[in-house]
Amino acid sequence: MTETPQRNPRPLRVLAAMSGGVDSAVAAARAAEAGHDVTGVHLALSANPQSFRTGARGCCTIEDSRDARRAADVIGIPFYVWDLAERFREDVVEDFVAEYEAGRTPNPCLRCNEKIKFAALLDKALALGFDAVCTGHYAQVIVNEDGTRELHRASDMAKDQSYVLGVLDDKQLAHAMFPLGDTVTTKDEIRAEAERRGLAVARKPDSHDICFIADGDTQGFLAGRLGRAEGDIVDESGTKVGTHEGAYGFTIGQRKGLRIGTPAPDGKPRYVLDISPVTNTVTVGPAASLDVSGLTAVKPRWCGAAPSGPGTYTAQLRAHGGETEVTAEPVDDDALDVTFTNPVRGVAPGQAIVLYDGTRVVGSATIASTRRATASVA
């Protein structure tokens, strides 16, 4: 059996966030099996203000809600649907749009963990008498002898999701439970475990897309929200090489979908180097120009005490990204200066930088600007 009992010897009242997917279902099942008093909750995050039931049907989330309910039935725990659509709209969707509008590339999953699952949901859970919120994230919380907590990468590095949890502070971590984090296992094995537990979601496909953009068309979603705003695509010398329909539609490092008429002089592919919402200009150039030597990040959050001086860490710069060695130093209270040991390619402002000491999450911050290996780009 791969099911691992909880580290916590004391049974807790646990609120399990159940998305309708296989991971959160297995996580809830493991928490219940470990002897905790578990209640399942599906978060309704998509607002539908229509008062007539007939018109309110047909949304994909109703099926997810049903799947979550069926999993809760099988696990044998109470189940409710909580409507957090308004909070989600304010804190995640509007933030997502505003970040793109500002030329940055947000990570809505991270924002959802920070503002919804481990804020709105956790606060409500604690007020209602629960001790912890349980999710299907792959990460580990380790309790030290002195009671302090550390967030660590999942045992299985390939599935580790500590990056999107790096934004959690001590208080949030103190009430977080990730029953999948200490499992070295493949997704197939999680599915097999779900099957063994009789959970019908065992064969449900994974969701990878942004949950509030059901058709996966992020550009279309942004165009609908921000409107078309035609502008220039220029090369590093400032020469116009094409046009775009909205600078918000691009991400640093993007290569596909640029539709540049004029080929590069050297015939090599070009990448998005910079997005300037003020001038509505997108700058493109060769891959080598994507190399950055360092960055400045804002709104740092530390797991434990903030470091007093420069330190050497490994850093992760995007979800599913690899590790890179950095030297990081807090600047004032609200910024972080980071220098890469070796230049890194394609770093997008708006994404988080998460610092690790081994497997331990030290802290995280939001990337504000990068320093190109050749010249600085805002």
Partner: protein
């Protein structure tokens, strides 16, 4: 366990369960001509007579359906179509805004797909339609009204409508009035024959009968266009092989509902009064929804708004202690939205999120009331800490 959600469904009466199981082993399609068919047909017709008697209707006025939702749809859509077919000018539908979704969504659908003009009648702070408002709405142009529909008693806040007065007004103008009496049957006198209604909905499982069976009481002069076409059963208004065991069991429950109505109103009404007192003692600022006067509300309904709470939170906290109630109508369960009933009565949308409906029934006891009395204060206190997310 304190089951206080009888308005969602109430435990089956032992007599009804017995009638159901007694029929399960018997073969016979009530439409067949041979002995087995005749036997089934006899069971159906006896049940029809029993239900007619319980509701002071004629047996031919009882049209069996699969339940309240189907009966509501048949009345609203069927009467609309037949009235419009007879005179294309009749496209206006008058409805109370506090109807159950089975009526509300059917009416809405007629507006979206059948060219109907929907007019929602005004209601007072208790959710009650006044006859003069119905009169005003019809009199504006009596020739274009297809039908009016006003529930006999509200499923969320328990308000009883002045159905006879409303039916008198409708009859004056020759407009058919439908009433959803699903919640009223068994709790207040429901007298179809004397009501003046064109059509009336009742349901089996709300009165201690089985699920999946109901009836539309339908005046003999009305021939609504069917929603279900087929073998022509039930006056050609509702096709489909009749569910003999369910019909037989429904009839037993209907007879008992009528016979025990006075006992129910007195005894269960007294328990309900105790519950209201207990909740108000524990939570002095709880607001009783609907009409506070005993004659104005269903005897088994107690609906409260708890300022500063989310109904969902309260439900979870009470559920964890074995107290089962609802935030509104069970069909709204799932995603919390302010109840359309409360919004129609002019309740502030934020306040409308903090509601609980306790509905008592034939198995309710003092112990149920005591459980609520003990749990509601701390639950409200806790839910207020959680606040309105």
């Amino acid at each position: 366990m304190a089951y206080l959600d009888h308005a969602a469904t109430t435990p089956m009466l032992p007599e009804a369960a017995e009638a159901l199981t007694a029929q399960l082993g018997i073969t016979g399609n009530a439409s067949s001509l041979h002995a087995a068919g005749r036997r089934a047909r006899r069971t159906i017709e006896e049940a029809r007579e029993t239900i007619a008697e319980a509701l002071t209707a004629r047996p031919s006025e009882v049209v069996f359906t699969s339940g309240g939702t189907e009966a509501d749809n048949l009345a609203v859509k069927g009467l609309y179509w037949s009235r419009r077919d007879a005179d294309p000018a009749r496209t206006r539908v008058l409805a109370s805004p506090v109807e159950h979704h089975a009526v509300l969504d059917a009416v809405h659908w007629l507006g979206e797909h059948e060219g109907a003009t929907i007019e929602y009648l005004p209601v007072d702070a208790y959710g009650r339609v006044r006859p003069e408002d119905l009169r005003e709405a019809i009199a504006r142009n009596p020739d274009d009204v297809a039908l009016a529909t006003v529930m006999w008693a509200n499923n969320e806040i328990g308000t009883i409508m002045p159905i006879r007065d409303l039916a008198d007004v409708a009859a004056e103008f020759g407009v058919p009035l439908h009433a959803d009496a699903v919640q009223a049957f068994g709790q207040v006198p429901v007298d179809f024959g004397a009501s003046g209604l064109a059509a009336m909905t009742v349901s089996g499982h709300k009165i201690g009968g089985p699920y999946g069976i109901g009836a539309l009481l339908l005046g003999r002069e009305y021939s609504p266009v069917p929603v279900l076409h087929g073998g022509g059963q039930e006056r050609h208004v509702r096709s489909g092989t009749l569910d003999v065991p369910a019909v037989a069991s429904f009839a037993v429950a209907a007879r008992l509902a009528a016979e025990q109505r006075e006992w129910f109103a007195r005894e269960i009404g007294a328990l309900r009064d105790d519950l209201v007192v207990a909740v108000r003692e524990a939570v002095p600022d709880a607001i009783l929804g609907g009409d506070p006067s005993p004659g104005g509300r269903l005897p088994a309904n107690a609906h409260f708004t708890f300022p500063g709470c989310e109904g969902d939170s309260l439900l979870l906290l009470l559920d964890a202690q074995g107290i089962e109630c609802s935030t509104g109508s069970a069909c709204t369960a799932g995603v919390a939205q302010p109840s359309h009933v409360l919004l129609a009565t002019g309740t502030d949308p934020d306040l409308a999120r903090g509601t609980l409906r306790f509905s008592l029934g034939h198995t309710s006891t003092e112990a149920d009331v005591e459980a609520v009395a003990k749990a509601i204060g701390p639950a409200v206190e806790r839910a207020r800490t959680a606040g309105l997310t």
